[in-house]
């Protein structure tokens, strides 16, 4: 087990190095002198000169990468030119909002996706199965920003039940916080519910045809117990691991959802940075997301091995 963990951790090192090179390389896509572009509209010569020095633009590319990665390793993701703040502190400031949104979205996705997957596997080829599959196909085909706008039209404009935008801290007013987040969380959870439903369905179908389930049934256990206690437990292992990997979808989706509902989170941070040509923030956000994804992937892999020791021998 220990050897597996060490090997798996060692494997992510080159991936992280490549990710950092890729994100550093983004800067090279800027046309012309990066310092001039990064200095913004005014192109203040003092700022340009300062950036030239700070980004070591007079030195060769590999040296510049080493300076940059050294900073990153010490928690320095650069500085937002517009807000005059370190990128890392901006990210950490906005992250809790997105994490709450992502958490609620995942709850909604689990609440819809897993029961729908179970029902569609247990009642295979019935109207329930078709209905669940239609809902999944809908979830996968709907652009979430459009769904968000339509929900605002229904619940805010027409019915007046929920606020159309804005965010209230849960520490300030939990009720207002949940009212502001329920629509965005549903929009974000919708697509993941579809993915979870498909995974649950196929995992359940596989487990339901296995010998031990047949044995449980042959013992005369009630069907409910067989499905919920025996089959579901095993079927959920791959589903939960795959669900953890939906983090990327959650973060990508959060960018648009936060834009539609004007939620001041992580996604809004990158969009505002793009509009304001605040490139250091864009790079920082991508690097942070990729690192988070790789780490979560690692945790999911290790958790999977702990739950299912057979994996190690493959």
């Amino acid at each position: 087990m220990f050897a597996y963990v060490v090997r798996r951790v060692a494997q992510i090192v080159p991936t992280l190095v490549f990710v950092s090179m890729l994100i550093f390389g983004l800067q090279q896509l800027l046309p012309g002198d990066p310092a001039v572009v990064l200095a913004g509209e005014e192109r203040d010569p003092n700022v340009v000169a300062y950036l030239h020095k700070k980004l070591h633009l007079d030195e060769p590319l590999p040296a510049r990468y080493l300076y940059w990665i050294d900073g990153v390793a010490h928690g320095d993701l650069g500085e937002s030119l517009r807000l005059q703040k370190p990128v890392l502190s901006l990210i950490l400031e906005k992250l809790p909002v997105t994490l709450e949104l992502a958490f609620l979205a995942m709850l909604i996705a689990l609440a819809i996706g897993i029961p729908a997957g179970i029902v569609s596997a247990v009642r295979r080829d019935t109207a329930w199965d078709y209905a669940a599959n239609v809902v999944a196909l809908w979830g996968l085909s709907t652009p979430n920003f459009w769904l968000g706008i339509m929900l605002i039209l229904l619940f805010s404009v027409t019915l007046g039940w929920l606020p159309a935008s804005g965010f209230v801290s849960p520490l300030e007013n939990l009720k207002a916080n949940l009212a502001a987040l329920v629509m965005p969380a549903f929009v974000l959870g919708n697509a993941i519910a579809a993915v979870l439903m498909r995974h649950t369905r196929s995992a359940m179908l596989q487990v339901l045809s296995s010998d031990y389930v047949r044995t449980a049934r042959a013992k005369g256990l009630p069907e409910r117990g067989v499905i919920l206690k025996h089959a579901l437990r095993n079927a959920l292992i791959p589903v939960i691991t795959l669900g953890a990997l939906e983090l990327g979808t959650l973060l990508s989706g959060a960018v648009l959802t936060e834009q539609v509902f004007t939620i001041p989170g992580f996604g809004k941070l990158i969009v505002d940075a793009v509009f304001n040509r605040d490139y250091a923030v864009v790079q920082g956000v991508v690097l942070f997301t990729a690192t988070a994804y790789i780490t979560l992937n690692l945790i999911a892999d290790i958790a999977y091995v702990i739950v299912n020791p057979q994996i190690r021998f493959h």
Binding site: F18, I23, L30, S141, W146, Q259, V274, V286
Partner: protein, 294 residues
């Protein structure tokens, strides 16, 4: 019901479609996939014939017809500067279809040769390519596309490049995996045994067998690319105004949702139908091309 079941791949493998029948015929036997195909063809026809079928110039503004509700004159209503929404939606199909197809072509052009090389060459080349692929895959697809589009500058062309590059690792992985499996088959061993050079074995014997999987993935990737292009345009990183695109129409429509909801309903509905059509065809193709998949 059976139609839906067929398309979703939940029905038992159809006995009526034998493995020898033509894949296209097998695809068309699935009503939902066939419906998806008809929808796609209609969208393509609309996009190509946009100058003939759209009732108004999509860029023509009219101050006397600002935010008018749907009527006989303007079926889908008008927008905030009096442009006809139906005409803009029809012309917008061009940007969406172009972005969907071109970005997937970019992914295929880069991804397939690299995947083939990794799978066929193996060893250090494979390790290097696989680690690079992992690195790109670690960046969430849309966030990477947004970052690339931001650095390249906002335009439809750059959006297509950004989406295509971001989607490439999926094709590298798929081609590599398929190549590894096919490489071990006997006919490939035989082709090598009679002295074919490696490049010829890879191109003439391995590649044709990877194509079915690429067709399925490519179709599903078009669906994802259409949504991605709409997302980038929604954020102002795709097609630039005043040229019509569904994503940018939705971005504007968001601000008028309380008094001109039709501005938001139609472009989104068209994105949904187009994406759904590609998903239906993709799912249908998977069932038609891979008899093992249920």
């Amino acid at each position: 019901m059976a139609a839906i079941a067929d398309a979703l791949g939940v029905a038992p493998p159809a006995a009526r479609s034998g493995p020898r029948s033509h894949p296209l015929r097998r695809l068309l036997r699935r009503p939902a996939a066939a419906a998806g195909l008809v929808m796609i063809v209609s969208f393509v026809a609309l996009a190509l014939l946009a100058p003939l079928v759209s009732p108004y110039d999509p860029l023509a503004t009219s101050w006397t017809a600002v935010r008018k509700a749907p009527s006989a004159a303007h079926w889908f209503g008008t927008d905030e500067i009096g442009r006809d929404v139906l005409s803009r939606v029809i012309w917008g199909a061009r940007a969406s279809l172009l972005a969907g197809v071109v970005s997937v072509l970019i992914s295929l052009t880069i991804g397939v040769p690299i995947g083939l090389l990794a799978g066929y060459a193996g060893g250090k080349v494979d390790v290097l390519i696989s680690r690079l692929t992992d690195a790109v895959l670690a960046c969430p697809f849309l966030i990477l596309a947004i970052a690339l589009a931001a650095f390249l500058g906002p335009s439809l062309t750059n959006a297509m490049v950004a989406i295509g590059v971001s989607a490439t690792p999926v094709f590298i992985r798929l081609t590599r995996g398929q190549t590894l499996a096919i490489k071990a088959e006997e006919f490939v061993l035989a082709a090598r045994a009679i002295g074919n050079p490696p490049w010829r074995v890879a191109l003439a014997h391995v590649l044709p067998n990877v194509v079915p999987a690429l067709v399925v993935q490519g179709t599903l990737a078009i669906a994802a690319a259409v949504i991605a292009e709409a997302s980038l345009s929604f954020l102002g990183l795709g097609q630039q105004p005043p040229a019509p695109s569904w994503g940018s129409m939705l971005n504007t429509a968001k601000n008028y949702i309380d008094n001109a909801p039709w501005m938001a309903i139609w472009p989104g509905l068209w994105i949904f139908v187009l994406v759904l059509s590609f998903n239906l065809v993709g799912d249908g193709l998977r069932d038609a091309l891979d008899p093992r998949h249920v």
